[in-house]
């Protein structure tokens, strides 16, 4: 997606990173920011050089008793997850792996997770990547090192640039370090499965599950397999109690099969939108009010779809070049083109918001050298 360029900058320290960006700013060299290169969605980047963050690697602090982890941005996600797993903990938001839908291969980095605000099924209960992110260090487009937030989970000191950096796709700064609030891994997991529901009935069932007091941590529907999935996590006895209670409460909507043994693979498939990966066409990721999910799919023409987040996250595979946003314009939310070619991969913003976004971009990267064009 980037212009062909031979120059690859690979800083090993934050200081080197700052020097490189400062030089690029001075020479107006446009940089394509790259972590593991597994999530290259967005508009084509106009770049004169690649800035590769993989040299900025390593967990710098992990305090399991305080549920906090700090890592350099280029640290492989797998390294972070392994360190957490060794202490029975996890990143709460279940970051998705984009390699399946984008057909990329590489080593996903923790910085890439933050830059794309990548989140999975548990987002519904514990929030997105931005909700677990508690601190950042980054280098602005002028080459200044800036920190915001920190390593504590309650912090309202100054403006929250942490959330601004999450999902900014490297256009406001190059992340050098990120801090997270983490969570204990659930001791036990149960997945309730209903079969044969149509999209409307399935999403209504998911809404009912979320209205229950049983602390649901995943609510998805896969029309292809006809399966509607609800996940419950926690202490062992509690999980089996809640699974039974919920299944009983929802029995009028159909009988649920309860999977008590390992259902991790089922949820990894939902997380990574696996059911849509194969086959030709554009792939869209749409965020709407959950009950609008089935209406969006119908308005789009009923193409292969997958629902997560109770219906609030819709994945669609459409014939190449479909102008999807026109078809679903009446449903508030946003649609991102994940795979395919369209002039605007990100949802165009209405004017007051667009002006604020442009203003921020100009303040953080006055010469537009960071991932230029990616989000516009």
């Amino acid at each position: 997606m980037n212009d062909v360029t031979d120059t690859v900058l690979t800083p090993d320290t934050e200081q080197q990173l700052a020097e490189m960006v400062r030089a690029a700013h001075a020479q107006r060299t446009r940089l394509a920011i790259r972590g593991g290169g597994t999530r290259p969605y967005g508009n084509p980047v106009r770049a004169d050089a690649v800035l590769q963050t993989s040299g900025l690697s390593g967990i710098t602090l992990y305090d399991p008793g305080a549920l906090t982890l700090v890592a350099r941005a280029g640290t492989p996600l797998a390294e972070v997850e392994a360190a957490l797993a060794a202490e029975g903990q996890m990143l709460p938001f279940e970051p998705m792996d984009h390699q399946g839908i984008l057909g990329t291969t590489g080593t996903p980095t923790i910085g890439g997770v933050v830059a794309t605000n990548a989140s999975g099924p548990r987002r519904l209960k514990v929030g997105a990547c931005r909700d677990s992110l508690i601190g950042v260090r980054f280098v602005t487009g002028e080459g200044h090192v800036v920190k915001n937030g920190g390593r504590v989970m309650k912090n309202v000191t100054g403006y929250d640039l942490v959330k601004l950096m999450a999902g900014s796709h490297g256009t406001l700064g190059v992340l050098s370090e990120v801090s997270f609030k983490v969570l204990p891994k659930p001791q036990s997991v149960a997945t309730l499965v209903w079969s044969g529901l149509d999209d409307g009935a399935a999403v209504a069932l998911l809404a009912a599950a979320m209205r229950s007091p049983y602390d649901v941590s995943g609510a998805a529907h896969d029309p292809a397999s006809g399966r509607t999935l609800v996940r419950i996590e926690g202490l062992e006895q509690s999980v089996s109690y809640r699974a039974q209670a919920l299944s009983q409460d929802l029995s009028s909507r159909g009988a649920a099969q309860i999977i008590e043994d390992d259902s991790a693979a089922i949820w990894a498939d939902i997380r990574d939108a696996r059911p849509l990966c194969d086959g030709q066409g554009d792939i869209w990721r749409i965020c709407v009010k959950p009950s609008d999910g089935p209406r969006v799919v119908a308005a789009a023409g009923g193409h292969p779809a997958l629902y997560d987040w109770q219906g609030g996250l819709v994945w669609l595979r459409m014939p190449q070049g479909t102008v999807l946003r026109d078809r679903i314009a009446e449903y508030p939310g946003h649609a991102t083109l994940m795979r395919g070619t369209d002039k605007r991969a990100f949802q165009p913003e209405p004017m007051p918001v667009a002006r604020l976004s442009q203003g921020l971009r100009t303040q953080f990267d006055p010469r537009g050298i960071l991932n230029s064009g990616k989000m516009i």
Binding site: D63, G65, A66, Q89, N117, R123, G127, A128, D131, H144, V145, V146, K147, G150, R151, V152, K154, N155, V156, T157, G158, Y159, D160, L161, K163, L164, A166, S168, P184, A207, R211, S212, P213, D215, L235, Q237, S238, Y241, R242, K289, P290, G312, P332, G333, H334, A335, T336, Q347, E349, M351, P352, V353, A354, L356, S357, Q358, G359, L360, Q363, F364
Partner: protein, 491 residues
């Protein structure tokens, strides 16, 4: 605490300004007599007072926009105000400023249980948001101590927390969308009933921006299905360090209580005298609350007891009923009132890494002796958000200064051990001049530049959050933004 000198030219134009504001607001919504504006001279940080030029109480978003357009044209500073419960001076006016109060914006606009949100006007109080949905089994999770009085507008401005955020997060984690009016009077819709932003996370930026980026008039808030039940256990220890270690062990064991509250001896003693909660005679006390069905609560409390037992507790008191739960919470909930009865106090709000708890408590004791003022500690231990209460006598000359100096030392300590100046109260004016302890010039510059984008004229709550010297040039310039040029550049 220094505030900028008021602009005398603005004060001289008061009659003109009041007349213009009256044209766009209903009868009685413009408060301008010397007596009446006094009601807005301070918030809950009562040590600092200054009557504003005028106060306005618009009842619709359109009226808020009209007020801001006028103030923008007249280059008059505006200080937004929720219910005035800020402990940081977030709503403290200057003599040349208009207070914009949201107290008349109290409607519930939409309630949607299937999608689990409520949309309200932001003058509505925190507790009455839960009040609007609890009969249907829902609640709004952030629960600051002032929740009976504080407004959602203020909660958003300060990104308020509460006792239960260990499990449910703070305001920013429960906010889905806002209607905001910029200083120029432009109405901006951000977010909505859907999750996440399609572009930059402006919602995350606005939440916690202390009324400096815009006036939020409506908010879409996440509501959550109430758990089946909740019960606390009280754990008493003979040393702060031991209680701190117990907190860490509970968290490491994979349990996630909804609240872990910590009180030290001075605080326990004051609460006992005030509320007669029957707390044990001990150095440190934890109240740990868990949620779920009865059986689930029993399962979690059993695990917590087993962990606590390894720390030789003085006493463990598990609640078995609602009455026992209330008794355990009685003292904690009375803590601030109890302190207020003994003395004037200043409530700090730094956050520290939980693992630094024993060290920080020891240092606070040393500092307390050094400055000659007592400090009682009550705080949310699970997330490291401390609330040291410094006791002083407002009538004793010099005591407030000593108290502020001690407070500054304690907050510096919080930053030194890896924490921050404020966990949930906000910077306001109270911590404004300490910002350089946590941030260097480049860090502050990028925050200040965010305000440049939203409020180029630096009119909205301008003397807060940032050290005055860091913003002086911008406040002095008060240049009218080149809007048309910017729009043209994007198009």
């Amino acid at each position: 605490m220094q505030m900028p000198d008021p602009n005398q030219a603005i004060i001289a134009r008061k009659a003109h300004l009041v007349a213009r504001l009256k044209q766009v607001l209903p009868e009685g919504a413009v408060i301008h007599s010397d007596n009446e504006v006094r009601a807005y001279e301070c918030d809950a940080l009562t040590a600092y007072k200054c009557p504003p030029l005028a106060a306005v109480l618009p009842a619709t978003t359109a009226q808020v926009a009209a007020v801001l357009r006028i103030c923008h044209e007249e280059a008059v500073p505006v200080v937004p105000r929720g219910s005035g419960t800020s402990l940081a001076g977030g709503a403290l006016p200057t003599a040349d400023a208009v207070i914009l109060g949201v107290a008349r914006l109290t409607e519930v606009i939409e309630t949607d249980y299937d999608n689990r949100f409520i949309r309200v006007q932001t003058g509505r109080t925190n507790l009455s948001v839960t009040g609007a949905v609890e009969q249907d089994g829902f609640f709004y999770a952030p629960d600051p101590s002032s929740q009976l009085a504080c407004a959602i507008a203020g909660n958003i401005a300060m990104n308020s927390g509460g006792a239960h955020c260990l499990k449910y997060g703070v305001t920013t984690n429960n906010l889905l969308g806002v209607t905001m009016v910029t200083m120029e009077g432009e109405i901006v819709e951000i977010g909505g009933a859907h999750m996440d932003s399609g572009g930059y996370d402006l919602l995350g930026l606005i939440c916690g921006s202390e009324g400096q980026l815009g006036v939020v008039t409506e908010a879409t808030l996440r509501i959550i299905a109430k758990p089946e039940g909740a019960r606390p256990i009280l754990l008493a220890f003979d040393a702060n360090e031991v209680a701190g270690a117990c907190v860490s062990d509970i968290i490491r064991a994979g349990l996630l209580p909804v609240a872990i509250e910590f009180m030290d001896r001075p605080c326990i003693a004051a609460c006992e005298r005030f509320a007669q909660a029957g707390y044990p005679d001990c150095e440190a006390l934890l109240i740990v609350e868990v949620e779920g069905s009865d059986a689930e609560i029993d399962e979690q409390l059993a695990k917590i007891k087993a962990i606590a037992a390894t720390h030789d507790p003085v006493e463990m008191r598990e609640s078995k009923s609602e009455a026992e739960s209330a008794a355990i919470w009685a003292g904690r909930k009375a803590a601030f009132g109890a302190m207020g009865q003994i003395n004037d106090y200043m409530c700090l709000d730094g956050t520290i890494p939980v693992s630094e708890l024993p060290f920080v408590l020891r240092r606070i004791r040393e500092l307390s002796a050094e400055f000659g003022l007592d400090v009682a500690n009550v705080f949310h231990a699970g997330d490291g958000n401390m609330h040291p209460l410094i006791l002083f006598d407002a009538n004793k000359p010099g005591d407030l200064n000593t108290c502020e100096a001690l407070g500054a030392e304690i907050l510096k300590l919080c930053v030194e051990v890896g924490g921050c100046l404020t966990g949930e109260h906000g910077v306001g004016i109270e911590k404004r001049d300490l910002m350089h302890v946590q941030f260097d010039a480049a860090d502050l510059e990028m925050q200040v530049r965010v305000k440049d984008v939203f409020d180029p004229g630096w009119l909205l709550n301008p003397a807060k959050v940032f050290p005055l010297d860091a913003t002086e040039a911008r406040r002095a310039a008060r240049d009218v933004p080149q809007r048309q040029t910017q729009d043209a550049a994007i198009a």
